[in-house]
């Protein structure tokens, strides 16, 4: 029993959230501003690692961008302004969530459109099959004649 408790404790210990890359000396004194900075930096891509946010990344550039972001917020930028400041330099790619615009319509609506097309074709297919199963086509004259002869033979 004690062994299993120990094992459980070890397993739970590995479930702790991963340490963030944000260093204590980067943080702003004002907790409200710091919270905004954290929220924004989770949405910004680290250009060096490209699949991490600057909040997660240990790259030098990510560190610089975190500091820059905090400077902008401390200087009175709104969230929008601070994000636009970085997008102006690095482009939309820096946003982990790409903006909805004609160039990204396929990205945003493609999967839903594909689902609708697939669901519609499936519905049409199933519907057609059910109809043929439920109401079979009426017998042709030839079939009727054969059926009649078969029935006559038996009785």
């Amino acid at each position: 029993m004690r062994f299993f408790l120990l094992l459980l404790a070890i397993l739970l210990a590995t479930l702790t959230p991963p340490a963030r890359a944000v260093e204590p000396n980067e943080m702003l004194k004002n907790p409200a501003l710091e919270a905004r900075a954290r929220a924004i930096s989770r949405e910004l891509r680290c250009l060096v690692c490209q699949n991490e946010s600057i909040d997660d990344s240990n790259a030098d550039l990510a560190h610089d961008l975190r500091l820059l972001l905090r400077q902008r917020l401390a200087a009175g930028d709104t969230d929008r302004q601070a994000i636009d400041f970085i997008v102006a330099r690095y482009g939309d790619f820096v946003l982990l969530q790409p903006p909805v615009e004609p160039a990204t319509y396929l990205l945003w609506f493609g999967p839903a459109a594909l689902l609708i097309v697939a669901a519609a074709s499936a519905a049409i297919f199933v519907n057609r099959r059910n109809r043929t199963l439920r109401e079979p086509a009426p017998l042709s004259a030839e079939e009727k004649r054969r059926l009649d002869t078969l029935l006559d033979e038996r009785y």
Binding site: V48, L68, V87, R89, Y90, G91
Partner: protein, 188 residues
């Protein structure tokens, strides 16, 4: 109509094969990002030169420059650093570029220390007509630099026309950089 539907999967497959084939073409690196600064003016900056001038044999270098100094001629801005290994790979290409190509190259040492940058230039030679220090990396961020070396082609009016990420090679210079330089030099 029925016949046509059967061909759809095959058509999709062929389209995918063509896409993969094109995406694998030589010299294409999907991790290279397009620059958001193309067509925009060079960001405002005024950077100091290294504390000690490089002591190589050659014409005197301008130490430190600002964005205004770039106006009036087509110029290449090269971000480099003494700690950057690809910069050493690129260096001979830059050395051959300046006088022969008739386009001035200015160097910005990105997140580098003055004496390290000068040491690098003294050891390998100096390809730049002007050298500036961007120790904090802020000017780099304003240019949209995400890794050295990066090279920016600026036109006569101070507009960024081209960005190349990674070490320049003789082939890239001949194929991309020089034709663009010539076109810009001829335009008013």
């Amino acid at each position: 109509m029925r016949r046509f539907l059967y061909i759809v999967p095959l058509a999709l497959f062929i389209a995918l094969v063509i896409y993969f084939f094109v995406a694998m073409r030589g010299g294409y690196d999907p991790s290279t990002l397009p620059s958001a600064m193309i067509g925009k003016p060079v960001p405002t900056f005024d950077l100091p030169g290294p504390l000690v001038p490089p002591s190589y044999a050659g014409p005197r270098v301008k130490l430190g420059f600002s964005n205004r100094d770039l106006l009036g001629h087509v110029v290449l801005v090269n971000f480099f650093a003494s700690w950057c290994i690809p910069c050493r790979v690129e260096h001979p290409v830059l050395m051959g570029l300046g006088p022969a190509a008739d386009v001035p190259v200015v160097g910005i040492a990105y997140k580098d220390k003055s004496q390290d940058a000068v040491g690098f230039l003294n050891e390998y030679g100096n390809p730049y007509v002007a050298v500036a220090m961007d120790e904090g990396g802020r000017t780099g961020i304003d240019f949209g630099v995400y890794g050295v070396p990066e090279t920016y082609l600026i036109d006569k009016h101070g507009i960024i026309r081209l960005r190349y990420v990674g070490p320049l090679t003789a082939e890239v210079v001949a194929r991309e950089i020089l034709p663009a330089v010539r076109t810009l030099q001829q335009s008013p």
